[in-house]
Point group: C2
Chain length 405, copies 2
Amino acid sequence: MTNSKDIIVVGGDGFCGWPTALHLSQLGHNVTIVDNMSRRDIDAKMGADSLTPIASIDVRLTAWSEKTGQTITFENIDVARDFDRVVKLMERIKPDTVIHFGEQRAAPYSMRGVGEKRYTVDNNISGTHNLLAASVELGLDPHFVHLGTMGVYGYDDDGIEIPEGYLPVYIPGDDSKIYQREILYPTNPGSVYHMTKSMDQLLFQFYAKNDRLRITDLHQGIVWGTQTDETRLDERLINRFDYDGDYGTVLNRFLMQAVVGHPLTVHGTGGQTRAFIHIQDTVKCIALAVNNPPPQDGKVAILNQMTETHTVRSLAAMVAKTCDAQIANVDNPRNEAAENDLRVSNKTFISLGLKPVTLAEGLMDETFQIAAKYGHRCIYEMIPCVSTWTDNQRPGVVGNTDKAA
Amino acid sequence: MTNSKDIIVVGGDGFCGWPTALHLSQLGHNVTIVDNMSRRDIDAKMGADSLTPIASIDVRLTAWSEKTGQTITFENIDVARDFDRVVKLMERIKPDTVIHFGEQRAAPYSMRGVGEKRYTVDNNISGTHNLLAASVELGLDPHFVHLGTMGVYGYDDDGIEIPEGYLPVYIPGDDSKIYQREILYPTNPGSVYHMTKSMDQLLFQFYAKNDRLRITDLHQGIVWGTQTDETRLDERLINRFDYDGDYGTVLNRFLMQAVVGHPLTVHGTGGQTRAFIHIQDTVKCIALAVNNPPPQDGKVAILNQMTETHTVRSLAAMVAKTCDAQIANVDNPRNEAAENDLRVSNKTFISLGLKPVTLAEGLMDETFQIAAKYGHRCIYEMIPCVSTWTDNQRPGVVGNTDKAA
Ligand SMILES: NC(=O)c1ccc[n+]([C@@H]2O[C@H](COP(=O)([O-])OP(=O)(O)OC[C@H]3O[C@@H](n4cnc5c(N)ncnc54)[C@H](O)[C@@H]3O)[C@@H](O)[C@H]2O)c1
Ligand SMILES: NC(=O)c1ccc[n+]([C@@H]2O[C@H](COP(=O)([O-])OP(=O)(O)OC[C@H]3O[C@@H](n4cnc5c(N)ncnc54)[C@H](O)[C@@H]3O)[C@@H](O)[C@H]2O)c1
């Protein structure tokens, strides 16, 4: 393949990173996974586990070579703490692309307690900054692809469509002129996790402007689904499925509740609207982003990586219908508006040719190939969300649902 | 004094923190200084030193008791790294107010190299976050007063007056309605240091919103002058005067150039406009802020703490006239516009009764009481700025000037 790239996938053992690494390897790129296994450690400490039986990274990589003849290299490096090893690795590989998934990514986990708040801030900010600073230090010019979240915008709900990063605004001056500016869409993060993603944006803005780094920041919706074309090739390649109260996103937790015969617990009225994307589309979008680096013009390319929006209420209704389950409304542990609308522009990926997998199409697969098939592995006690946003909020009742990313 | 408060002054050994601690102690507040002496360590490592002979913290505090009968307590704690000691201290003192000066505050130092970039990000972000997270963890409700900088706004120069933090904007919707929002004034930081101050804003926004912390963020101009009413009481209380290429702000470096007979080196055309405030007004503003905590309404109070603006060119002209010096124009080591205008609203402090010391009034004092008096202590080699913003910029010529904060 002529345009094969050297790509570092930071966080490449995780839910989005692993299928992305496989997909890019399949496309002929030369992939190195960097991961410090912190996510598996957190699972172990919480007593949680992926519903699907994920193999160790060694077994995963061996299976991949066996099945495809391709090699993916693995480096166990903490990008937030092992700066010298980050520098050595980048110096050796001189990557064309660095894809950065390596952050603590659950909002409820980031609100558990002071230790988790501090870990999330230190891990996410130092990690992102180290990768940028190392590139500049080495005089390298990799294209950075970072995974951000739609959630940084908060859910202000005044009817404005969320644009791809930049918003043209008009400002009345005190001299009675009207000024026009294009600004970074103002963030209003709702958790420490989302706050770190807003802070990442400022790191990117600065390094793009000052050092002309080429950066694509993908503001992703909630990722659902488990398998991709590549992870389906062998059971040892299976992707993770999180359903615990901290890392499980809303759809997965509904599915698990349905499997164990618990009513689907909807926060408040379930009127919160969220953006979604299937994991198969995530890996496709990232491959598109890798092939389309932005110009070196001092400006971060910000794309919305989502394909549809649903209210939590309508999501519950779809799962209840597919799985023949009940619905129960419980208190919301989050500090947020009860109902919101959400309109998002995703024109860049659509114009690049993305044909999304819809929830209506994919839900059956997810229910029977994953939730029902591996349901016997479910640790029932892990489903409730016990993280609360402030001390005067009670822990949610057993089985309440929360979206994590 | 009936409304005497328990106040922690983080960074209370520094240029702004020390005179603030004295002023608040003089007003009858119960002051604890927290400082890790990192600034004195940086000076020692760079081979720089304050022009004024600053005493050790022990000698400073003893002198203060001798002169006034007041006691200021000192704790050597790194707020970015010693989280447990931060928690213990806050638990013991249960402060009414935490004033946070404890950050790496020089833009050129933050751009020196990768080590300084990483140190600035990690020190400033973890320090600020630790103080906020510790308060929430302990269920305390201190009023936070933080020193930010005018520099976070960048110098966009499209004629808009910089408001106190929030900007009302109009947004044309895709449905052809016009939406109105009040947003955090968009930041456009020009150095890693300024970037950390922009990131601090997001930490404050979140903790004010989620935990209802009361936070005042003071967006300060460049502080000039050395002495205040309290530091003048005894030579052992003298405040620091920085003139080195990294920490010396533009006025101090002009004064030192004049003293050693070097032409005042102006970057480019000297058309950069900056905001200024005298150190005496800084301490007064902080005392006003301490006495006027914002309501617990989820919103950070952002005040512009500056009293006048000048171009670098006009500043050089004033110093040249006072000191009978020459002016030379040299290349600018910064990545910035050559000329800009700057209009800033400082209505809150003026309405609270601040009567500013103007540069025109104070410059003589600064020249003869400080620069000329201690000029023999000047380490000539420290004046040039050797930090550059990007690799393809040459180090500035000997004696070039840069403003640090
Ligand atoms: N899953 C979603 O729904 C979703 C939605 C929007 C955005 N995102 C973003 O996508 C990215 C990946 O999310 P995910 O769902 O795959 O999460 P994940 O937790 O499954 O994967 C993250 C991986 O990064 C690794 N990691 C964390 N810190 C690291 C460090 N300091 N050094 C090296 N490796 C480190 C972890 O061990 C883990 O393998 C995250 O940044 C997340 O914020 C995810
Ligand atoms: N000096 C200016 O012109 C100016 C202008 C605008 C804003 N500010 C802001 O005001 C604040 C104070 O500035 P300054 O000029 O007094 O700087 P300074 O360097 O003289 O003082 C900062 C003090 O904080 C301490 N410190 C740093 N990191 C610490 C940590 N992790 N733990 C404990 N102590 C720590 C240092 O030892 C030092 O004594 C800074 O936040 C700065 O950004 C200053």
